[in-house]
Amino acid sequence: MSGNYKSVFDIIGPVMIGPSSSHTAGAVAIGRAANRIFGDVPTKIIVHYYESFAQTHKGHGTDYAIISGIMGFEPDDARVPNALQIAKDSGIEVQFIEEAGDSPIGHPNTAIVELSKADREITVAGCSIGGGTIEIRDIKMDGFHIKPKGPLPILLVQSDASNKNLIQEKLAKINTINYHAEYDAPGKGMLYEYDLENRLKEQDLSTLSQKHTKMVYL
C-alpha cells in the first residue's frame, strides 16, 4: 500500500475550479509548493512538461493552474482561469516547454518548475498522482539538492547543526518521521529534510520554529 492518500478529503475533494484534478488542481498544488520553496514572487517562470502533461496541458488548463499556484492562489480561487493574464500584467516572464522524453522523475504527470528573481533561482520537480494529490521528488534551492521520497507532507529546515536535535525531538513527539535526510551546502550550513506521516498544524510549525532557522512546509 502506498499510503499517499492520507485523508478522506484527498478523495472527497479538493473543491476546485475544473476541469482536471490531476492536471489542474494538482498543477496548482505543484505551483504552490514551488511558491513556498521560493518564498517570493518570481520575475521569471519556466515550466517543463513531460508525458501526459506535455501532451494535454493546454486542454486541461495546466498552464493557468501551475501559474496560479506559483502566485499563491488556492485551487478554488476564482482568479485561477485568468492566472496567465494576471502574471503578464504583473510583469512576470512565463515560458512553457513541452519536453519530448520520459519524465526524469518517473511519472506521466510531471512538471519541473524553475523560478528566478535577480540572482536567486530554484527548481522543483513535482508530479500529480491523481485527485489533486501530488509528490515532490526533486528540489534545488540555495545550493542544496534535495531528493525527497515524494509523498507530502515534507518539512525542510535550514539551520545550523545545534538546533537539529531539538527540532527532531519536538517533531517526533507530534508526528511520525517516515524519512529523514541531511544536506550541506558550502557556506549555507545544513538543511534537514523530514518526510512526515501526518499533516502539521499552524501551531505545530510555530512550536518547531527556532532562532536562525528557516522552514519550508510542503
Partner: protein, 296 residues
C-alpha cells in the same frame, strides 16, 4: 489506516459500526482534528456538489469555452418531464445530475473532485437520486460521502485514481465503485454488501481507457460519468438483492491496477489514442489548438 477492503469490512462487521463512522474516527485520529471539524468540512463539500448539480440545469445549462460540451443536462431534464423515459426516472435523473456536474467542471466551474475532477459527476449522480428515493437526511448524505471516501482511499493507495496512470477505469471506475458501496450503506445494507457492490461496479468498468479529445476533460468524460452513476446504482441494487461478485473486492482493485499498468500510453490521458485519435477527434484538436497532433 485501513490497508484493504477486507480489513475495513471486518472492522465494520465485528464491531457493528458503519463504515462512515470508521472513516470519521480514522480521520480524527490520523490528522488530529475534532469530529466537528471533519464533519463541517464534509458538509461544505456536499454543498459544493449540490450547487454544481443545480447550476448545470439552470436556464439553457452550462457550456464549456470550446463548445464541445454543455446544455445536455437541461435536455435530459426536459426529456424526463415528458415522463416516457426508458430506464425510469431515477436512472435518468442520476444521469442528469452526473452530466450537470461534469458540464460545470468542463466550463471551469467549481466542483468537488470525487475522487477526481474528470469523475466528479458520478458520486453526485447517485447521491442526489437516492436522497429522494430513500428520504435521506442531511446527516445520512454526509455519511454517504465518508463511506465513499473510505473505499476510495483504499483504491487510491492500493491501485491508482489518475487517468494518466490507470485509464478511465481508475477515475470513473473508482468513482462508480465508491458510489455503489456508499449507496448500499445508505440503503441499509451491511459492509459486506458494500464491498460486493464495489467489486461488481469496478469489475464492470475494468479496461475503460482514458482518451480525452484534444486533451480536454469533455469528450467522452462528461458522459462516462453518466455510465459511472448508472453502473453504481445497478451494482448497489445487485448487492442489496444478495448477488455477489465471486472475485473479492481487494482482488478486483489489484486487477484494476494491473490492467491500468498494462494500458498503452496512448490510452492513458495523452489525448492520442481511442476517441481522441479518431478523424473527428483530431479535427477538433486542430480547430481548438491550431496545430497538428502526434498520432503514434
Amino acid at each position: 489506516m485501513y490497508e484493504s477492503i477486507k480489513a475495513l469490512v471486518d472492522a465494520s462487521m465485528s464491531t457493528d459500526t458503519p463504515i462512515s463512522e470508521l472513516m470519521i474516527q480514522q480521520e480524527m485520529t490520523k490528522n488530529n482534528v475534532s469530529r466537528e471539524e471533519v464533519w463541517q468540512q464534509m458538509a461544505r463539500n456536499l454543498e459544493v456538489m449540490e450547487a454544481a448539480v443545480k447550476r448545470g440545469v439552470e436556464g439553457d445549462g452550462v457550456f464549456s469555452k470550446t463548445g464541445l460540451t454543455g446544455g445536455e443536462a437541461v435536455l435530459l431534464k426536459k426529456y424526463r418531464e415528458k415522463g416516457h423515459t426508458l430506464s425510469g426516472d431515477t436512472m435518468v435523473e442520476a444521469v442528469q445530475n452526473a452530466i450537470a456536474t461534469n458540464e460545470v467542471n468542463a466550463a471551469m466551474g467549481v466542483v468537488c473532485a470525487t475522487p477526481t475532477a474528470g469523475s466528479t459527476g458520478t458520486l453526485p449522480g447517485v447521491l442526489f437520486v437516492i436522497r429522494d428515493r430513500l428520504n435521506l437526511s442531511r446527516e445520512q448524505m454526509i455519511n454517504f460521502l465518508f463511506t465513499a471516501g473510505a473505499f476510495g482511499m483504499i483504491i487510491a493507495n492500493n491501485a491508482m485514481i489518475a487517468g494518466a496512470t490507470g485509464g478511465c477505469q481508475a477515475e470513473v471506475g473508482s468513482a462508480s465503485a465508491m458510489a455503489a458501496a456508499a449507496a448500499v450503506e445508505a440503503a441499509g445494507g451491511n459492509a459486506e454488501q458494500s464491498a460486493e457492490a464495489l467489486a461488481m461496479a469496478m469489475s464492470n468498468l475494468l479496461g475503460l481507457v482514458c482518451d480525452p479529445v484534444a486533451g480536454l476533460v469533455e469528450l467522452p468524460c462528461v458522459k462516462r460519468n453518466a455510465i459511472g452513476a448508472g453502473n453504481a446504482l445497478i451494482a448497489a441494487d445487485m448487492a442489496l438483492a444478495g448477488c455477489t461478485n465471486k472475485i473479492p473486492a481487494d482482488e478486483v482493485v489489484s486487477a484494476m491496477k494491473e490492467v491500468g499498468q498494462g494500458l498503452p500510453k496512448a490510452l492513458r490521458e495523452t489525448g492520442i489514442g481511442g476517441l481522441a485519435g479518431t478523424p473527428t477527434g483530431v479535427k477538433m484538436k486542430v480547430s481548438i489548438f491550431g496545430k497538428s497532433v502526434p498520432v503514434s
